[in-house]
Each structure stands twice: as structure tokens, then as C-alpha cells.
């Protein structure tokens, strides 16, 4: 069994849409043996802090990114449909594209080129059953297949809004394995990708696509 580590870069505290204080989330994560980042759009000194951006066009996104990149440790973009997903992977400064649904090949290519990681959220799996869970697993299958072909990174997050939605490393690893991830892919999605995002030194804004 390899050493399993987990950095969960998408959690929310009571300061945004969650129900626990940031300090409580950090302490709970310590007990579970994981590290977390909090995406409240607030800069915390004691923990990695991220911001979720939304934008209608590239101009707006560039403006928001240039403001956010000096302040936050990492930047997430809220995707959803084809247009939003493509916009989200068009800037190298975006670290993670979230709520993507099934991405297309164009988005996959651009994500690989601009090193934007595509998110898989455990929260989606945890709170769905039968039909809706099947749909989410199909989306994950699609994104995993494209990741293998085009080489973009996948990142797994808990998407936790409460202490009860955090998961430890072993449990997350087993869920990913069950979803069809190979061991190295799971370890990369849980630790290598988030670690490289936190270490990444950003280049200047560069629009591609």
C-alpha cells in the first residue's frame, strides 16, 4: 500500500456557504490526517485560501484574475456549461475548474495546455443516490477518459460545507479506486496536483484559445 496523502482544496466555512468556523475545519482536518484549503474568497493567514470566480467573458475574467492572483493562494473558476468551461480553462492563472459536468475535447486540450486542473467533487457523490449518482459517475468516467488522452490533471476535492463532509485520505483513495482510477492517478488527484497548485509560481496573464 503506497503512502496516501490528501490535500483538499475546496472546503467552505461559515464565512461563505458552510456551517463551521475556519479554525474548526482546520482542526477537524488535522484529526482526519489531511490538509485543507478554504475557498471563502477571504485570505486566511493560517491556511491556504482560494477564491471561486465567475465571469461572463474573457475580459471580465482577466480583470478578476489579475485582482485575485496576488491575494489568494489559488484560483477556482465555476464552470458548468460548454461556454463557461472553455472560458475557465482559457487562462493559465486559473488553477482549478469546478462544477464542470462532462467536458468536451476542446476544453480538455486547453486544460492540458494551460495546466488547469479539472475538479471531481466527493460532495456530488456523497449527496446523490441511484439515478443521479449514476449520472455523476458517468461524468467522472468521461473526464477521466479525456484526462488520460489529453493529459490534463484531475483534482479531487470534498467540496465540504460542513465538518461531516470532510473525508480522510484512505476513504477518498478507495472511492477513487472504485470509480476506476488507477493507483497513480488517484494519488496524483489527491496529493500531487493540489501540491503543485500550491507551489506553482504564476506566469503573467496569457490568453490562449
Amino acid at each position: 500500500m503506497p503512502r496516501i496523502r490528501f490535500i483538499d482544496l475546496r472546503t467552505h466555512s461559515i464565512n461563505s456557504i458552510g456551517v463551521d468556523s475556519p479554525k474548526r475545519l482546520i482542526e477537524e482536518a488535522k484529526l482526519l490526517g489531511i490538509k485543507i484549503g478554504i475557498c471563502d474568497g477571504i485570505k486566511y493567514s493560517s491556511v491556504a485560501s482560494g477564491i471561486i470566480l465567475e465571469a461572463r467573458n474573457k475580459r471580465e475574467l482577466r480583470r478578476k484574475v489579475s485582482k485575485a492572483k496576488s491575494e489568494y493562494d489559488y484560483i477556482l473558476f465555476d464552470g458548468g456549461d460548454e461556454k463557461k468551461n472553455r472560458l475557465g480553462v482559457s487562462l493559465r492563472e486559473i488553477d482549478i475548474l469546478i462544477n464542470t459536468g462532462a467536458i468536451d475535447t476542446y476544453t480538455a486540450r486547453l486544460a492540458a495546455k494551460n495546466e488547469v486542473a479539472i475538479e471531481i467533487s466527493l460532495r456530488d457523490l456523497i449527496h446523490t443516490f441511484r439515478g443521479s449518482r449514476v449520472k455523476i459517475i458517468r461524468v467522472i468516467d468521461n473526464n477521466l477518459m479525456l484526462s488520460r488522452k489529453y493529459g490534463f490533471s484531475i483534482i479531487v476535492t470534498s467540496g465540504a460545507r460542513s465538518r461531516y463532509e470532510l473525508r480522510n485520505a484512505r476513504e477518498t483513495f478507495e472511492v477513487l479506486k472504485y470509480l476506476g482510477f488507477k493507483e497513480e492517478e488517484a494519488l496524483s488527484a489527491m496529493f500531487k496536483t493540489p501540491e503543485s497548485i500550491l507551489k506553482r509560481e504564476k506566469e503573467e496573464v496569457k490568453i490562449i484559445g
Binding site: L122, H127, R133, S162, R163, Y164, Y178
Partner: protein
């Protein structure tokens, strides 16, 4: 029909776990949540190979032991990770450890006590009125009167916000036996 010889019997793995929830979770509810999730996730064929059994569960400490086939350990852990709700009560199951024997499991993982103290006193959290209801380790669970956050809790099938002791204002913990 005679018993299956020991060498041919299926090997088991014992899993120690802790249930975390704002509600008291009964043994039947927990068993139903785990089995329902396993059946839905694995399907009848694989669930039949799981050989799952909830051996014991302490409703006060919210600690328990379950067993499964050693071949299906990965699937069992994945199932436990995805349990989130029973009877509109949010819960999560944290795996404390896995062992091949009950004796080793109890020695390694269940010796620690995780006491949850039920208390009741009013305090302030960032100028909001709260009522502290539970305390364990350095953690505080509290009811909050602010409507937006109460609604958020309700939507998530929860009751309490989670804080740590140092964040509470206007409270001397020793007065309340914490």
C-alpha cells in the same frame, strides 16, 4: 451438514469506525444506512460477496465495529465513505482502523475514549447569539439564532455549527464543567 473447515472459511476484516453527527444515531438506523448505500452502490451481486455485518455499536460514544470479507475491504471502505444521510440526519462514518482480529482491533483503535459532553449555556460568537450544546476535545457545537445560517443547517440536515473553544466569547468553560 457439517461445518466448513477453518481453512476453507472466508477470511474477514474487522473495521473500527466512529460515527459523526449532530443527532443520536441508533444501531438500526446506522445498519440501514450502510447496507442501503452498499446495495445501491455495489448492486446485488457484489453486495452479496461483501459479507457485511455490524458487530457492535455504542450509541453513546458513537463508536462501532463491523466486519466484511477481506476480498471486499476496498469496496466496504468506499461504501462507508459515501454514507451521508439516514432519516434526514446528516452523518459521516470515519474509519479508525482495520484489523484481521477483533482483539487487535480493540487494542489498537478503540482504547481511546471520545467523550462528548452535553452542556447548555448561552454565549457569543462574533457578536452572534449562540447556545453551546456539545463539547469534546477542543470542539464546540452550538445552536445559532441567525436565520440565514439556521436555514443553511436545516438544508444540510444538521443542527449545530462547529466552532472551537477559543472562538467563543463571554464564556468561562470551567463554570460549565468543560
Amino acid at each position: 451438514m457439517g461445518k466448513i473447515p477453518k481453512s476453507m472459511r472466508e477470511k474477514k476484516r474487522y473495521i473500527a469506525f466512529k460515527v459523526r453527527s449532530d443527532f443520536k444515531i441508533k444501531k438500526e438506523e446506522l445498519s440501514m444506512a450502510i447496507w442501503g448505500n452498499a446495495l445501491s452502490m455495489l448492486g446485488e451481486m457484489k453486495a452479496s460477496k461483501l459479507n457485511y455485518w455490524l458487530i457492535e455499536y455504542d450509541e453513546e460514544k458513537m463508536l462501532g465495529i463491523l466486519t466484511c470479507s477481506h476480498r471486499m475491504l476496498s469496496e466496504m471502505l468506499a461504501c462507508l465513505a459515501l454514507v451521508s444521510n439516514v432519516n434526514n440526519k446528516m452523518l459521516s462514518i470515519v474509519t479508525l482502523g482495520v484489523s484481521g482480529t477483533l482483539k487487535a482491533l480493540r487494542r489498537k483503535f478503540l482504547k481511546k475514549d471520545y467523550p462528548i459532553r452535553e452542556v447548555s449555556f448561552k454565549a457569543k460568537f462574533r457578536e452572534r447569539d449562540i447556545k453551546v450544546v456539545r463539547s469534546y476535545n477542543n470542539f464546540i457545537d452550538a445552536e445559532i439564532s441567525e436565520q440565514e445560517i439556521s436555514e443553511r443547517l436545516g438544508n444540510m440536515n444538521m443542527r449545530y455549527i462547529g466552532l472551537i473553544k477559543e472562538e467563543i466569547e463571554d464564556a468561562t468553560f470551567s463554570e460549565h464543567g468543560i
